[in-house]
Structure formats: structure tokens, C-alpha cells
């Protein structure tokens, strides 16, 4: 069962130039992407910076406008909805932002930050509202007594928890997590990630997990899509991607993961060399004449790759 489907999504930005600043070209941030989210799973969207993964996430939640394509949720195409109609679905899709420093308004107290969606979607008395905020604070592992503090009084990890609490207030079904831990110290990354896994079970959440870090994605995801230059190059289950990578770009990404075992260092180096050679040798096999990525093709029930 699919309950969020992104179909042929394109997000283009105009490039203006010349004397009259007419549109002379487009930057294709997202160029024809199709993906499905199954309820309760975590879909990892991976790629280097600038590959369009964040744009994809932000378009799904309505922060960017889709140039073409559909985003189907509950059989309704969200890209066609007017702002007012979209409001109904807002609470079902929520987002965790990358930067826990700028994503919390510095002038607001924690209670106002977490209660913001409550005030938009529910009518609660101030007392009920405060109780709910305190419950959420407890749930994300923060002291319920600190709801009148300002964000700058919390650490990065704590701030990210506040961000998660805020996303949870309206009981969403899908959470788009855009690099949720990349701004955090490595020491607290695992904490936040495990906590995200816990609440996923508790709330039966579906994650679209956007990251550049394959290690983290492997830890979090059930299925993974690899993005490159605005297109998907490979998609499959965690095992598909990590054990049988088919596209050269996926292979290169995997080869770039540092190996902590020093005994295997030479082996690892050899593998990287091989991958690199294959890339140079077989470039035409993976990219068409204009250097564009091919469309995805199914090679098994769960595994697709962009090959001719």
C-alpha cells in the first residue's frame, strides 16, 4: 500500500540573464523523480550536496513549488491544491529541519514554539495546551519545567528534540527529516537517531530521511534512493543498495565510506581504485550522450537502477 507517491516531480528554477533579464535557462534542481512511501517505513534519500534531495523534501511539504509532476497523498494531488485546501493535509506531513539553531525562533519561548501548530489546528484552553506541551517535552526527554525558556538556553541536541516535539504535536503521519543530525556533534547524533526510531514505533510514523551520510542512512532506513544531479540513479532495499549496488555512482558513494578496520585498509584502497577505473572506462554505459542520467528500470521486485 502506498500512501505518499511522488510522481514525475520536477522543480526547475529560472536563470535570468542578458540585458533584459529574460529567462535564458533553467536549473533543474529536481528532474523527474518518482518514489513511493509505504506506511511505517523509513525511506532514505541520499546524495551529495546540491543533488536535489532537500528540494524534493521541501517540495513534498509545500515549501517549494513543483514545476511539474504530482505528489499524491490519500489519493489527492497536493501540488494542485490551493493554499487553503492544503491546510487540511499540513498536519499529516511534518518536517524536522537540518539546523536546530535557525529553525527555532529565537524570540519565542519553548512553549510558544511547541504550541504553534496546536494553535493553528486545535482549540485548546491555555491550561490544556500547557499540559500537552509538557507531555511532549517529557516524551522527547526534556524537562517539562523548562517550557518558559528560550531556545538559546538549550544545546543543539536538545534544540533538535524541541523541533521534533513541535513536529509531533499534531500527530503527523509522515515526517520529512532533512539532515536532522548533520548539524549536531557526533556524540549526540546517535542519541537523536535512536530517539527518532523510538518515536517512529510509538507514533507509527513514516519517515522520509534525507541525508548525505550513508552510514546514518543505513542505520535508519528500510529502503534507499540514491540521487544525483536531480535524478534518482538507484533505488532499492537497504540490502539491495549496500550488497548489490548496480550504478557506478552508488558504488562510488559506497566506496567513499571510510572503513574503520585498519587491517582491511589495503583491500579498501584497491576497491576504490577499481571503482574509479570502472567509472572512467564505462562512463558511457551509465550516462547518455549529454551526460544525463537514464530513467530508472526495475531489475527485481525491490531494486531499480538507472541504466539504459
Amino acid at each position: 500500500m502506498t500512501f505518499l507517491r511522488v510522481e514525475n516531480l520536477k522543480v526547475y528554477y529560472p536563470v535570468r540573464g542578458g540585458f533584459f533579464r529574460r529567462v535564458i535557462d533553467h536549473v533543474k534542481a529536481v528532474d523527474d523523480i518518482t518514489l513511493d512511501l509505504q506506511p511505517g517505513e523509513t525511506y532514505g534519500l541520499v546524495g551529495e550536496s546540491g543533488c536535489g534531495k532537500t528540494t524534493t523534501g521541501r517540495t513534498i511539504i509545500g515549501l517549494n513549488k513543483a514545476t511539474a509532476g504530482k505528489i499524491i497523498f490519500n489519493d489527492i494531488d497536493l501540488t494542485r491544491l490551493k493554499r487553503r485546501q492544503f491546510h487540511k493535509y499540513r498536519k499529516d506531513i511534518q518536517m524536522i529541519f537540518q539546523d536546530p539553531y535557525s529553525s527555532l525562533n529565537p524570540k519565542k519561548r519553548v512553549i510558544d514554539i511547541i504550541a504553534e501548530p496546536i494553535r493553528n489546528f486545535e482549540k485548546l484552553s491555555p491550561k490544556e495546551e500547557r499540559r500537552k506541551v509538557q507531555d511532549l517535552m517529557e516524551k522527547v526527554g526534556l524537562s517539562p519545567d523548562s517550557i518558559f525558556k528560550y531556545p538559546h538556553e538549550f544545546s543543539g541536541g536538545q534544540r533538535q528534540r524541541i523541533g521534533i516535539a513541535r513536529a509531533l504535536t499534531v500527530n503527523p503521519k509522515i515526517i520529512i527529516a532533512d539532515e536532522p543530525v548533520s548539524a549536531l556533534d557526533v556524540s549526540v547524533q546517535a542519541q537523536v537517531l535512536n530517539f527518532m526510531k523510538d518515536i517512529q514505533k510509538e507514533y507509527n510514523l513514516t519517515y522520509l530521511f534525507i541525508s548525505h551520510d550513508l552510514g546514518i542512512v543505513r542505520h535508519m532506513s528500510d529502503r534507499i534512493g540514491i540521487m544525483y544531479k536531480g535524478r534518482l540513479v538507484e533505488e532499492g532495499t537497504k540490502e539491495n543498495i549496500f550488497n548489490q549496488p548496480k550504478h557506478i555512482y552508488t558504488k562510488r558513494l559506497l566506496a567513499a565510506i571510510p572503513d574503520v578496520n585498519p587491517e582491511k585498509r589495503d583491500e579498501h584502497l584497491l576497491m576504490r581504485k577499481e571503482v574509479n577505473e570502472e567509472f572512467e572506462r564505462n562512463y558511457e554505459k551509465y550516462f547518455d550522450a549529454e551526460g544525463k542520467i537514464f530513467d530508472l528500470k526495475k531489475i527485481s521486485d525491490t531494486h531499480s537502477v538507472a541504466l539504459p
Binding site: 511539504i61 535557525s102 529553525s103 527555532l104 525562533n105 519561548r109 504550541a115 504553534e116 491555555p126 525558556k149
Partner: protein, 302 residues
């Protein structure tokens, strides 16, 4: 700002409440002795002027006493009298009240326009921004002072309200530009995107999310503007294009000095008004600069 949604006297509250942005600014002000002194002095002047002027009826200002033309300061006329034998001190107080009231009104009106348009232009961008910015750019290149003077002489039934409106029509642009550029920077921050995903309407995001983050800039700007507006109003009144006849301004008192005899020998007529303007301007600017430092975390005194 950012008042919590619960009522403060709830008994079970034992929360750790942190100082809000305002109390930080206030604390900074307290540390700057000169600014504090300026603030107190300015408020003392304002209160004195407003309270005292309530005791002065219009007849006390206008009463002409030709026997007492240009009488120097004495026990009845603390600051002497002018060419019509009218009491200068009374005119000074009423003039200061008028100048202050008008400057405050202009500051409030231009702020309302400037903040609204600046927020809209900066927040939405695109076509709206383009239109608003073109208007601003155009008004900025106008010889504002001259056009105001032309308007002042053209408006039939010229009165104080007209004067305030004419001034406001031209002096909102700087503020709008400032607010726009700050909003432009602010809207790129993730908390704005977050508010959108949380279903908060644009209007509310502008007013309750972005605006509080601009509050310190606005306060500083309004303070400095108040000083600027006093200067412009008194300047126009000095030239004879400010407040209408019968509404004394500090500028009107100073304009008596255009007569060389008054300038040289009857300094009690114009000098007190000039000095009062100086003192008020310095006070307001000291406070404004201190607020500016307080608002800028890097410059705080600690």
C-alpha cells in the same frame, strides 16, 4: 513580547522563566550612565512640558502687550517677551509640546506604513517587492524638502493634521527599506519555513514570528527617527513652512532671529528654543545609540 499563553498567577507555576529580550535591553541601558541620564532628562523635559502647557491657555500665548515689547527676562517673564510683548517662556513650552507631539505622530505614522510595506515586500518578494521598491526608490530621489514645502503652501485650509500627513507621506521610505532588507534576511531562516509547515498563515508569520525578531531594530530606528522628525519639523517651521499661524513651534521662536536685531541683542527670544532643541536631540540620540548597542549582542557592555 512572547507572552506565555498561560496566566502568570497560576499557583502551580514554578517554572524557570528566562529574561525576555526587553529586559536585556533595559539592563543594558541601565549600565550606560550617560544614556540613562539622557533618558531621565528627556522624560523630565517631556513631562514638564506637557504638564505645564496644560496651564497655559491660548490667550496667554497670544496676548499682545505692546508696552512690554522685547522686555528682557525678569521675574514675571522668565525668558522675556517677543516683538508683541508675548511671554517667551510660555511660547517655548507650548512650542516644545507641539513640536514633540507632531514628531511623535509622524514617527508613529511613518513606522506603521514603513513596517507594513517593508514586511510585505521583504516577506513575499517577487512582484509585490518590485513594485514597492520602485516606489521607494523614486521617492528617495525626490527633493523631498522642497516638495513638502510646495505641498504646505498649496494645501487649502492648512492645519496641523495636514502637516503631519504631508510629512508622513515622504518619510516612511527609509524605514520601509530598512525593514525590507531585514525581513529579506529573516525569511531565509528555517523558523519561517517551519512555521509554514506547521500551518501558520503568512499574515501571522509576518506579525508574530518575523516582526518580534525585528523589534530591536525598529525601536532603535524609531528613537533616532523621533529626533530626526523634531529636526525636520522645527526646520520647516523656522523657514516658515511648518506649523500654521497660531500654533507655535520651537522653530517659529528661532525664526524670530532672522531679524538681525533680535539675533544680536534679544537673544532670549530665540536662544532658549535653539538650546532646547539641541538638548532634546542629544538626549534622544544618546538613548538611541545605547539601544543600538544593546540590540547588537556583539557590542553589549557585558
Amino acid at each position: 513580547m512572547a507572552a506565555p499563553a498561560v496566566n502568570g498567577n497560576d499557583k502551580e507555576i514554578k517554572f524557570e522563566k528566562s529574561p525576555s529580550g526587553w529586559s536585556i535591553i533595559f539592563r543594558e541601558l541601565m549600565k550606560d550612565k550617560l544614556a540613562l541620564f539622557s533618558l531621565i532628562l528627556f522624560f523630565a523635559i517631556v513631562i514638564y512640558v506637557f504638564v505645564y502647557s496644560m496651564n497655559i491657555g491660548p490667550d496667554q500665548i497670544d496676548r499682545i502687550d505692546l508696552k512690554n515689547k522685547y522686555s528682557p527676562p525678569n521675574s514675571i517673564h522668565w525668558l522675556g517677551t517677543d516683538y508683541g510683548g508675548r511671554d517667551v517662556f510660555n511660547q517655548l513650552i507650548v512650542g516644545a509640546r507641539n513640536s514633540l507631539t507632531i514628531a511623535i505622530a509622524i514617527t508613529l505614522i511613518t513606522s506603521a506604513i514603513g513596517i507594513t510595506l517593508g514586511l510585505i515586500a521583504g516577506y513575499f518578494g517577487g512582484l509585490v517587492d518590485n513594485i514597492i521598491m520602485r516606489i521607494i526608490d523614486f521617492i528617495l530621489t525626490l527633493p523631498t524638502l522642497m516638495i513638502i514645502i510646495v505641498f504646505v503652501t498649496l494645501v487649502p485650509k492648512f492645519n496641523v493634521l495636514n502637516f503631519i500627513l504631508i510629512m508622513s507621506a515622504f518619510y516612511w521610505v527609509g524605514k520601509a527599506r530598512l525593514i525590507r532588507s531585514k525581513t529579506l534576511a529573516e525569511r531565509e531562516l528555517e523558523y519561517v519555513a517551519a512555521s509554514k509547515t506547521l500551518g501558520t498563515p503568512n499574515r501571522k508569520i509576518m506579525l508574530f514570528q518575523v516582526l518580534p525578531n525585528l523589534s530591536s531594530i525598529i525601536i532603535v530606528n524609531m528613537t533616532l527617527n523621533l529626533a530626526g522628525n523634531i529636526g525636520i519639523e522645527t526646520g520647516l517651521s523656522y523657514l516658515g513652512f511648518g506649523l500654521p499661524e497660531g500654533t507655535p513651534s520651537l522653530g517659529t521662536l528661532i525664526s524670530y532671529s532672522r531679524n538681525p536685531v533680535v539675533m544680536e541683542e534679544k537673544i532670549w527670544v530665540w536662544l532658549p528654543a535653539a538650546l532646547l532643541i539641541l538638548v532634546m536631540m542629544l538626549c534622544i540620540n544618546f538613548v538611541g545609540q545605547a539601544l543600538k548597542r544593546a540590540a547588537d549582542a556583539r557590542q553589549r557592555l557585558g
